[in-house]
């Protein structure tokens, strides 16, 4: 398959199939309906199965059951649907069941709207469900990256036996772009038959019981300690980030997803006007690229965070800069999008007026 023009949702769906996902369980919600529609049409062609669940609650537990077999399973939804799935996410994290979840974010709170947003950053990276757990959270900013990260999501979920969420804003779902989707070969994937359901024969009669229930406090603490060791390993190995000019920037913009793309345009325009603005784009929102902010030169005026929400990444940026730089914010909400012009105006405001 060469480069083809595709809508984001369909590119994500095809990327999943090319990564070996054969089982999809989902519930309709705008703006991501093309993914279940694509899966219902194309999974039967590869011997896979699509099931339309009765709710997002059921969908997440179907992928929990499917993921418990060690096979590659997926569901996709949008913000209110992800809220419903949050119970299942913590159960899967607690049972260490691999699965891929895509959130094509729309504006909230509540039913909100159906236009693009990044207002589920905190829900995805800091919890949503109960207990001490983490999802691996990936944020694409181009459709080619959405394709690549979808495929990586399956590999990471399998490698760490952990649910992985691709946090895509509505643009990543709804716009069209040229993409190349290739079959994906996983690297460093353990043998799932040692733990997954349905392989008692391979385990020579040894049963497997997958659970998140530990009634004894000692056992539950041990379980948590083990989970934290795994999360520490993921933090050590899997941080991904794009950045430039941080070493000599006068100001650094931190942004992810579509907003990062818009910020890049603003930075290019500002450069022509003589402003040296650097750029940090977290690709993994969890684990967060805190270290990347240490490369920022000490004469930098500060960090401007740009998001399609009310400032959900601000705390992570503040943690990353350890109080060394002031942290500014520009955001739009409700499906409104920051324009390059607005970002440029905010940068100039921080500079204290035109250069």
């Amino acid at each position: 398959m060469g480069r083809v023009l595709m809508k984001g949702t369909e590119a994500i769906a095809e990327a999943a199939i090319q990564a070996g996902c054969k089982f999809f369980f989902g519930y309709p919600i705008t703006p991501q309906n093309e993914i279940p529609e694509y899966m219902s049409a194309h999974l039967p062609e590869v011997g896979g199965t699509f099931v339309q669940a009765e709710s997002e609650v059921a969908a997440i537990y179907m992928i929990m059951g499917g993921g418990a077999t060690g096979h590659k399973v997926m569901t996709t939804s949008s913000s209110p649907g992800i809220s419903l799935m949050s119970e299942g996410l913590t159960y899967m994290a607690g049972c260490e069941i691999p699965a891929v979840i895509v959130n094509v974010m729309r504006g909230g709170p509540g039913l909100g709207g159906i236009l693009p947003s990044q207002a589920d950053y905190l829900q995805a990276t800091k919890g949503g469900g109960n207990g001490d757990y983490n999802l691996i959270v990936l944020a694409p900013s181009t459709l080619q990256e959405a394709v690549n990260l979808t495929q990586l999501a399956f590999e990471l979920s399998q490698r760490y036996r952990n649910p992985v969420m691709m946090l895509a804003d509505g643009f990543m779902g709804q716009m069209m772009e040229a993409v190349e989707i290739k079959p994906y070969t996983d690297k460093d994937i353990p043998d799932n038959t040692t733990w997954a359901l349905g392989y008692m024969e391979e385990r020579k009669g040894q049963k497997s019981a997958l659970k998140s229930l530990y009634l004894s406090p000692e056992a539950l603490e041990d379980h948590n300690i083990n989970l934290q060791k795994k999360y520490a390993l993921i933090k050590e190995r899997e941080v991904r980030c794009e950045s430039y000019l941080t070493e000599d920037a006068e100001l650094v913009i931190a942004a992810y997803g579509t907003t990062a793309r818009i910020a890049k345009t603003a930075i290019a325009n500002l450069e022509k006007e003589g402003y040296k603005v650097g750029f940090i784009r977290p690709i993994t929102l969890w684990p967060y690229p805190y270290e990347e902010f240490k490369k920022i030169n000490e004469n930098c005026k500060g960090i401007l965070t740009v998001e399609m929400n009310s400032g959900q990444m601000l705390d992570d940026v503040k943690i990353a800069v350890e109080g060394k730089f002031p942290v500014y914010f520009y955001g739009r909400t409700g499906g409104m999008v920051p324009t390059p012009k607005e970002i440029m105006a905010k940068v100039k405001e921080i500079y204290g007026g035109e250069k």
């Binding site: 089982f23 369980f25 199965t49 099931v51 669940a53 009765e54 709710s55 609650v57 059921a58 969908a59 537990y61 179907m62 992928i63 929990m64 059951g65 499917g66 993921g67 418990a68 077999t69 096979h71 399973v73 119970e87 299942g88 159960y91 049972c95 359901l197 349905g198 392989y199 008692m200 024969e201 009669g205 049963k207 497997s208 019981a209 997958l210 659970k211 998140s212 229930l213």
Partner: protein, 248 residues
């Protein structure tokens, strides 16, 4: 000496946590015996609920997944769709299945999922300490219905077997009780037929088992069985509501 009875291989050797006189143990044994006798034990994957049987994953000697409250049929759907050749069952109580999990059980039946469900109806929330269930009888006392369940206030108890029997995909539906040896034998026969329906890929199957909860009902084990017979069976009639032709 001839061995006339031995514990089924379908149960592990772990002692159960169930209260004295609770009928979960009997139903566990029947399920495990049926799995073994039908030759599907080594091919079986069970899904445990939240409630008294939350620890069922320890007791059944096959692969087990512990589900969230009410979600066992959705988890079983995911497992069965990946492993269509495995035998997949859920084991759920009435708080789990008839209250928080109604959507999941109705739609597993509606899709005709080729799974089997054992549904324990003891007319109360056991694990959480005796609260009212959708299956609690009118007038029956519970910790959240201290004056007895009022029909005016919370309606009449839900008849799950009858409700599911209206759904085409539910190909095997039967209500049984485990209050005496004769009914226990009938319960085993029903569970076996229900399991056979899955083996024959007929569709969804459920056996509702009227069970006792001496602890939360406040009776001795023997009186609890008598209460079940006198109060539950008249409201929840025993019998088969649906059997696919070839299994008859």
């Amino acid at each position: 000496m001839t061995v006339v009875f031995s514990k089924t291989r379908g149960l592990t050797d772990i002692p159960t946590h169930y209260c004295p006189g609770c009928t979960h143990g009997i139903v566990h044994r029947l399920v495990a015996e049926c799995l073994e006798e039908l030759g599907v034990l080594d091919n079986a994957i069970g899904v445990a609920p939240v409630g008294c049987s939350v620890l069922a994953y320890k007791y059944f000697n096959c692969d087990m997944q512990e589900a969230a409250h009410g979600r066992a049929p959705a988890v079983a759907t995911g497992i069965k769709r990946v492993h269509p050749d495995k035998f997949v069952f859920t084991y759920q109580g009435d708080g789990d299945l008839a209250s928080i999990g109604t959507a999941e059980i109705v739609h597993a039946a509606h899709r005709g999922e080729k799974i089997s469900t054992i549904f324990i109806n003891n007319a109360i929330y056991g694990m959480t300490g005796g609260q009212m269930a959708p299956t609690t009888l009118v007038g029956q006392k519970a910790t959240t219905a201290p004056y007895g369940r009022s029909e005016e206030h919370c309606g009449r108890p839900l008849k799950v077997a009858e409700m599911l029997a209206t759904i085409h995909g539910a190909q095997f539906v039967e209500r049984v009780a485990v209050n005496n040896p004769a009914n226990i034998r009938k319960a085993k026969a029903a569970i076996k037929k229900c399991f056979q329906a899955q083996i024959d890929r007929k569709g969804f199957g459920i056996v509702e088992v009227l069970s006792s909860c001496p602890t939360n009902w406040g009776y001795t084990p023997a009186d609890a069985l008598k209460w079940l017979e006198d109060n539950m069976i008249p409201y929840y009639p025993l019998g088969n509501l649906r059997t696919p032709e070839e299994v008859e």
